[in-house]
């Protein structure tokens, strides 16, 4: 699954949760059924998939050496966490992706706001941005290694590079799509360029900026793993590769599961932040 797919899947599933939450109280009559119904509809397939995995592995229908049963994976994860072996990896991975993501936010949002406002700058920079965007960050990773060495800098930079573009382009798009009629209205009330930016353009762009942030958060984790698979000796991505080399398959799956959970957590955090910042655009509050 490409990271675009992952992010739209996540976006869709979080969108659904909101609807499910709203519709849950209305389906009352048989109370337990009304409560379980939405859960079954939402998570039934997931539970089915997990149950199938467990069953197929324990009965030997698939090779348990390649697909270990879920309880083995979970206990490997728990073992790694409780012994502290995986905690170091989590810390370094979060640090790498966190620094890169924060830098992308710090550069992407202000630059995007500026580019969206000033047509000339946007027109001048757009072709080169499009070219950079279409150049896979992974393909550029060897270049970054050449320039920055095989240490932390090149790892953080490749993640930064990949996460910058979703944020930058969404912000530019958000600014450009601000309703001109609202800007005109603000002008009739004596708002100058700065007041228009602060009171109209900026708040109107927030939802678009969040789309970019959520896309970038997913991208950050994706690139993190790729970066850690090359020339790292720590990190969750390193553990995935390392466990596979050493044929510690449960540990490998545990690390993969950990990545998925981190992705979900990052997205949930951004959704929560967005809900608090953009309460006006929520269908129900």
């Amino acid at each position: 699954m490409s990271y675009e797919n992952v992010s739209t899947f996540l976006a869709a599933s979080f969108g659904h949760r909101r609807l499910a939450r709203v519709s849950a109280p209305t389906a009352t009559p048989p109370r337990l059924l009304g409560f379980l119904g939405p859960i079954a509809a939402r998570y039934g397939l997931l539970f089915g998939f997990l149950a199938f995995w467990q069953l197929a592995s324990t009965t030997g229908w698939v090779n348990p050496a390649v697909f270990p049963p879920l309880d083995v994976i979970v206990s490997a994860l728990w073992g790694g966490l409780s012994s502290g072996a995986l905690l170091d990896d989590i810390a370094i991975s979060l640090q790498r992706s966190g620094i890169a993501f924060a830098a992308a936010v710090a550069v992407g949002i202000p630059l995007g706001l500026f580019m969206g406002q000033v047509r000339l700058v946007e027109q001048a920079l757009d072709p080169i941005l499009q070219l950079f965007r279409q150049t896979s960050a992974l393909a550029l990773y060897p270049v970054f290694i050449l320039l920055l060495g095989l240490g932390e800098t090149s790892k953080v930079f490749v993640i930064f590079w990949a996460t910058l573009f979703p944020i930058l382009l969404s912000t530019i798009g958000g600014v450009k799509e601000v309703d001109r009629k609202l800007i005109e209205m603000a002008r009739t009330y004596g708002a100058g360029p700065l007041a228009i930016f602060r009171r109209v353009v900026l708040p109107a762009s927030v939802p678009a900026i969040f789309v970019g942030l959520r896309l970038s958060a997913t991208t950050a984790l994706l690139l993190l793993i790729a970066a850690e698979m090359i020339g790292a000796n720590k990190g969750i991505g390193f553990q995935v590769m390392n466990a596979q080399y050493n044929f510690q398959i449960p540990l490998m799956f545990a690390a993969i599961l950990l990545l998925a959970l981190l992705g979900l957590a990052a997205n949930a955090l951004l959704v929560l932040l967005q809900r608090n910042l953009c309460r006006w655009s929520q269908p129900n509050n």
Binding site: L182, R187, W280
Partner: protein, 256 residues
């Protein structure tokens, strides 16, 4: 004319105003040598077929567009761009979706330097004036079309303009809401002493609300005409004089 008379607040003088747009490189005149004096405190309706330039005239008065020639004077001074003495109500409410009703109404006060709490205090009165006090904390997407437009009207009144400019403010509303809003506007204007210019394509609305009606012809179809509507208020749409005015207007448009 009006220029020599003693000038009062909110008097508008339009002198030799012309404007044309460019359509595929060729000039398309929309306003040709408009001369008009809008009295202080009166309600002037501007009617005309589409393409007659009525909205353009209003946008020039608002300072959102520049004329090619001629001037607009407010209380004797030529306008340049938008100004604090004018407020515009558009066909769409143009509310800021991230602000509550109260903060939307206070928007124009805040852009003019009031603090948020001062703006809220003054906005409250105007929210009440349009009957939305129960919706103060609501967001625009929770409002109906008529309610949203009332918020837009309250926002314009809150800055206490000398001149209120309305561009088909009720054009997007359904017939029932429209009539009740017309009654509400008539009530509000009775209490607020403000010069009002109302662009509308609804002849009945013009007769119901206006002291005078300016009829803009389409290009090369004659001169602009002014009709005085000297009916007692509140006006009765079925009164013989009301009906007579409507027929007069219809015949001017060749619809009778």
């Amino acid at each position: 004319m009006g220029v020599q008379q003693n000038l009062r607040r909110g008097e508008v003088t339009i002198r030799h105003l012309s404007k044309s747009y460019r359509l595929n490189g060729a000039p398309l005149p929309v306003l040709k040598d408009i001369n008009l004096n809008i009295r202080s405190g009166e309600t002037l309706a501007i009617v005309g077929a589409s393409g007659s330039g009525k909205t353009t005239l209003l946008r020039v008065l608002a300072g959102l567009e520049d004329a090619d020639a001629g001037d607009v004077l407010i209380d004797g001074t030529a306008i340049r761009g938008v100004g604090a003495e004018r407020a515009v109500i558009f066909q769409e409410p143009r509310l800021l979706p991230w602000l509550t009703v109260l903060d939307n109404v206070g928007f124009g006060l805040e852009t003019r330097g009031l603090s948020r709490s001062e703006a809220r205090g003054r906005a409250q009165h105007y929210v009440q004036l349009v009957g939305l006090q129960q919706f103060e904390g609501a967001y625009p997407r929770q409002l109906s079309g008529g309610m949203a437009q009332r918020v837009g009207i309250a926002r314009a009144l809150a800055v206490q303009p000398e001149i209120l400019l309305l561009d088909e403010p009720l054009g997007a509303l359904d017939a029932m809401t429209k009539i009740s809003m017309q009654q509400e506007l008539a009530r509000i204007w009775r209490d607020e002493d403000v010069t009002t210019v109302l662009v509308t394509h609804d002849l009945e609305e013009a007769i119901y609300l206006a002291d005078r009606i300016l009829i803009l012809p389409r290009e090369k179809e004659g001169e602009p005409r002014l009709i005085e509507i000297d009916l007692p208020r509140p006006r009765d749409r079925s009164a013989p004089d009301f009906v007579r005015h409507r027929e007069e207007l219809l015949s001017i448009f060749g619809l009778h």
